[in-house]
Subunit: 190 residues, 2 copies
């Protein structure tokens, strides 16, 4: 949980996650979330515009990634800078167990899955601007980001399945896997 | 326009696109779209559940891509099979000029851009199942699809900008670009 999250906000998030897990997103009301967190509905709306947003309140991930890309060694290629940044996302994904539960709850609800897609697209847009600041042409920046996000998604799901591995190692391994996947076909000797 | 699209459906789509272009998505009503197409609101709802869906009615793209992947030469690697399929999407994207206008209208409206993301995710899910049928492990199938879609997005935007090029050539060029992007860094000789 990021440092700047208020206790009330954290309680609402944890209550929502637990209710979504036990009874599903659709059957959970804002009133229930607030009650479970020991707060009023009015407090809920002070932090979140609606029920769908509880799991998507700014967790600092986008700002963290953009700052990492902007601070990256100018000698790194664009994809190296992005992958190095994405490999540090575990600094935000804490506690790891919370992320794991969140991923499952999102996968179980089409409404949450849609919101997740949109949030990822916002992060991609912000990273595209950060690469453009490094002098990458916009179309190419978008392409490199789409590829880096593909790597990051696979690495993150491996990281969630394997408590021993570090996210940055898994990002590097997945980048190596991508090189194999797209390697030009070796001509068969006839 | 796909062969199986009824004339009324086609008229509604063209009317909607034109109104979204001239006055924006938000300011266009279903009644206006129907009137412009010379039809009733009731006819509109026979074809589309709401205003947002007009540009996303099934155009056959998903079925086309899945069929292409399923029919692909078993000797192709999964990414080769996917890229070959994606390189034939121009058989669906006709007329090209309609797609170009559609892309611009979608980019100008957050509501349409969200719907577009969700549709792309549905296509990705269907392609993941098609790769799994070819024996690819689910996590890897998803990864290969994310990468292939990144290539396809860049190739399609190039294709829209360059009427002389074929989509399949641009897909192959973009795959080659990806190999360069992810090539291991060459150590600098000191």
């Amino acid at each position: 949980m990021p440092r700047w999250e208020s206790d009330a906000q954290g309680r609402l998030k944890r209550a929502a996650l637990e209710l979504f897990e036990t009874q599903g997103f659709e059957r959970t009301s804002v009133a229930q979330i607030a009650r479970t967190a020991g707060l009023t509905e009015r407090s809920f709306y002070r932090y979140f515009p609606d029920k769908r947003e509880v799991l998507f309140a700014d967790d600092g991930l986008q700002a963290h990634l953009v700052a990492q890309v902007e601070a990256a060694d100018p000698g790194l290629t664009p994809i190296e800078a992005l992958l190095a940044a994405l490999g540090t996302a575990d600094e935000i994904f804490r506690p790891r167990e919370f992320l794991l539960r969140r991923v499952r709850v999102i996968a179980a609800s089409p409404a949450l899955a849609e919101r997740d897609l949109i949030k990822l697209a916002d992060i991609a847009d912000a990273l595209a601007r950060a690469l453009e600041h490094r002098g990458v042409e916009p179309g190419k920046a978008r392409f490199i980001i789409d590829v880096a996000i593909a790597i990051s998604r696979r690495a993150t799901s491996r990281w969630l399945a394997d408590p021993e591995a570090t996210l940055s190692d898994l990002v590097a391994q997945t980048a190596a896997e991508l090189r194999e996947v797209v390697a030009p076909p070796t001509p068969t000797v006839g």
